[in-house]
Amino acid sequence: MKKARPHVNQNEGLIFEHSSPGKRAWQLPPLDVPEVDPAAALGGDHIRESIGGFPEVSEVEVVRHFTRLSTWNYGVDTGLYPLGSCTMKYNPKVNEVVARLEGIAGVHPYQPDALAQGCLKILRLLSGCLLEITGMEAITLQPAAGAHGELTGILLVRAYLESRGNPRRKILIPDSAHGTNPATAAIAGYQVENIRSNALGTVDLDVLRRAVTEEVAALMITNPNTLGIFEENIGAIAEILHARGAQLYMDGANMNALVGMVRPGDAGVDVMHLNLHKTFSTPHGGGGPGAGPVGVKKHLEPFLPVPVLEKGAGGRLRLIHHRPQAIGRVRAFTGNFGVLVRALAYILACGGNGLKAATQDAVLNANYIRKGLEDVYDLPYKQPSLHECVFSDRLQAGHGVRTGDIAKRLIDYGFHPYTVSFPLIVHGALMIEPTESESKEELDLFIEAMREIAREAEQEPQTVLAAPHTTRVGRLDEVTAARRPILRWQEPIAE
């Protein structure tokens, strides 16, 4: 295995197991005001006993604990992280530095606008860049993540249709969509109708025409879709919807395939969200935070959630909190601002040309992997790939090896697995998105590893089925975890 070999792996218990009364990692300055008796100030009934079970450890133990835990993780900084639909690209270090500048990280959201002009300028510049990139006409930066952006977007559709007399009842969603799409539609009070993909893996125009009735509020489309295939009929899809008074929502999770090449706003999209933690390089943080700005066309602008940024007299920027037609507030304060700062740092560093070059490299990388693997893994949809490619485990399944097994074996070769078993329209899917951040060398190592695993699946399937062999824990018993959930540590009962 060229990329990896095992090395010493420190054991580390739960922090509570290191605890011992009297140890401490904190020190506060001496109190410079008179002491206050908590019971007198708050009422004896309101005061608690000590926080049972809370740890008591020293600073060096805190540092070692979390450092050891970190070494059990794999990050983009470690290597290729080809999770499909997740866009695990490099997270530039300078982004982390600028987001932590005291004059940015220290700003309170209720500072008067006049004393937060720097933050407001950042919001305004980022808004302008994202509008140019997407071809949309107005934007909100409030949503905290992609699914939150979806909810905001569908509520905008609802408010717009309601203002025209009828919010309608249904949202159409292709069967290749992320699970967040139907879950979002449900929260916005809509019924979900799934649209079957055609043999090419894209939206079937005839099926769509039949489905779009006066009951339909919008279609939520992901473009390129979760197969990495561009919905070439996007223009016609928009026309079909618009002819019936419905809206076109685009899930921008896969926007890394399009920046600088295609603007959804030019293709008839009415409303879309971006995932700044995917396309615009902000770190995933082990699950978040992200940011999910929503771009809209003019007709949806009056409904944007508050606050809305406005340029006032003398070029002063301010936040408007009351707008008669707004859908309301989707989150307190001003969104995940620190994430927005990082995304702007990325856009400034790349510039227009750099963003386009990144898109091209991302698509080149995905196609290079596709080419390198298509003779050993089954490729169910042969349409051109953009930023990701989706194989199935059909050839390996004959030897009892499934996509999940191949993924686990990939860990032994020093790579993070791809996305397993998604999209649902491919049985046994291997969904691979390398992003632009991978060198040819890393891609060649990955292709070699995947080809080697295909050989193992045929000749020594047990090696793959028992993988991973090199991690500190083997495959975990998820069934028992769900059947008898242990969701917190509890102090052992003294005998």
Partner: protein, 427 residues
């Protein structure tokens, strides 16, 4: 472009391997009429030095050198430096959601510890791996209460953070859930006497409430339970739990953890969390980490009870949440670990002492007990601004009935001298 790890020679080699003559051919199947035929109208990319310079300039336009007594859901607390040094490890912050448990044990174990400490702090039995923030945790808690009780009404104290209530309206409007407001006592600042009928799914109360006043949660719980409703407790200042009794009488706690180690950062990112009783776990939104073992019996951790979530249940999921605020939850876990059992108590005592020191020389609006935040009658913030002091939040925009009133937060970061200047300016 310095973020792209390929030479032009390598690009050509790769294109050749694909039988292509140029990059544009990779996009040739996209209809020409929707392809962008011009460069993006954005400036050219700049060096790291220039990126830094741009943001340093913006940072200088944000009240540099001011002392802030703003709170109202976002608190100025000291952030122990180990937080940033530890979360800056690439293995933590450049990792994805821990779906592949074998190489994500670091994230999984730290979330398990976060869940545990949130339970210890709140007196609840389970806590999730985080929500976007407190303001979205509240509507998720209300939707959860509606699922549990099968009822469609909710009674919310007006002393719950006003922006949280606005977010609640946005989320519940299309769920057929009716939101009714409960008044506060104009004298004490606590929840005023009220009655509810048995169509109510939950009573929502914040403590300390938006005015900083500590509420009687046990009484509210009795009222709720007598009517077959749940009690949802909102917490925006968790440092208070170093001293205050945990809201153990609540059925659901919807909490903002910003105060536990997250910078104000003009509104985010922070981390919300929902904690509840074990019997309600299957109605909970958001990710959960559970303990289990591998085939050799070694302890390990994995995401669990995923059948509640959108990627499995789609439109029948308990929430549409996917990405959460994991790294912020890690910050909170490190913060709680650094302060620990004794430290959090001492931190809370300092907050209490400093806030009461400030308040003792000011005219307060409310007589109820308060922790580190209080409402001052009057509101001469302009004079304070001249002295580079952000004196507090003018409450007129949220509570016009209070007249001139300022919400002031005093924490461990404020020195006696700074407090004296504030008091001098306000008195």
């Amino acid at each position: 472009m310095r973020y792209l790890p390929k030479s032009d020679i390598e690009r050509r080699q790769m294109l050749e391997a694909l039988g292509l003559g140029g990059m544009e051919e990779l996009f040739a199947h996209i209809p020409a009429e929707i392809r962008l035929s011009r460069p993006l109208n954005l400036p050219d990319g700049v060096s790291e030095m220039e990126v830094l310079r741009y943001f340093q300039k913006r940072a200088g336009e944000n009240a540099a050198g001011y002392v802030s007594f703003l709170g109202a859901g976002v608190y100025h607390h000291f952030r122990p430096v180990v937080i940033d040094s530890l979360i800056s490890r690439g293995e933590f912050y450049t990792a994805y959601t821990p779906y592949q448990a074998e190489i994500a044990q670091g994230t999984l174990q730290s979330i398990f510890e976060f869940q545990t400490m949130i339970c210890q702090l709140t007196g609840m039995e389970v806590a999730n791996a985080s929500m976007y923030d407190g303001s979205t945790a509240l509507p998720e808690a209300v939707l959860m209460a509606a699922r549990i009780t099968g009822r469609r009404k909710v009674a919310v104290a007006r002393s719950v953070h006003p922006e949280y209530r606005q977010v609640l309206d946005t989320y519940t409007r299309f769920q057929g859930i009716q939101v009714r407001e409960l008044e506060y006592d104009r004298e004490a600042g606590t929840l005023a006497p009220f009655t509810i009928d048995d169509g109510v799914a939950a009573i929502v109360l914040q403590s300390p409430n938006f005015f900083g006043i500590v509420e009687d949660l046990e009484r509210a719980a009795e009222m709720a339970h007598a009517a077959g409703a749940l009690l949802i407790v909102v917490i925006t200042e968790p440092v208070s739990l170093g001293l205050l009794k945990p809201p153990a009488s609540a059925d659901i706690v919807a909490m903002e953890t910003q105060a536990l180690g997250m910078a104000p950062s003009y509104g985010g990112p922070y981390a919300g969390v929902i904690a509840t009783r074990e019997k309600y776990v299957r109605s909970m939104p958001g990710r959960l980490v559970g303990q289990t073992t591998d085939a050799q019996g070694r302890r390990g951790f994995c995401l669990t009870l995923a059948t509640r979530e959108q990627h499995i249940r789609r439109e029948k999921a308990t929430s549409n949440i996917c990405t959460n605020q994991a790294l912020c939850a890690l910050m909170a876990a490190i913060f709680m670990t650094v302060y620990g059992k004794e430290g959090l108590r001492e931190l809370a005592r300092q907050n209490l002492a400093k806030a009461h020191y400030a308040a003792s020389r000011l005219k307060l609006k409310f007589s109820g007990p308060f922790f580190n935040e209080f409402v001052v009658a009057g509101g001469k913030t302009r004079a304070l601004l001249d002295k580079k002091i952000l004196g507090g939040l003018d409450l007129r925009k949220f509570y016009p009935e209070l007249g001139e009133a300022l919400l002031v937060s005093v924490t461990e970061v404020h020195t006696r001298q700074q407090i004296d200047e504030l008091v001098g300016g306000l008195a």
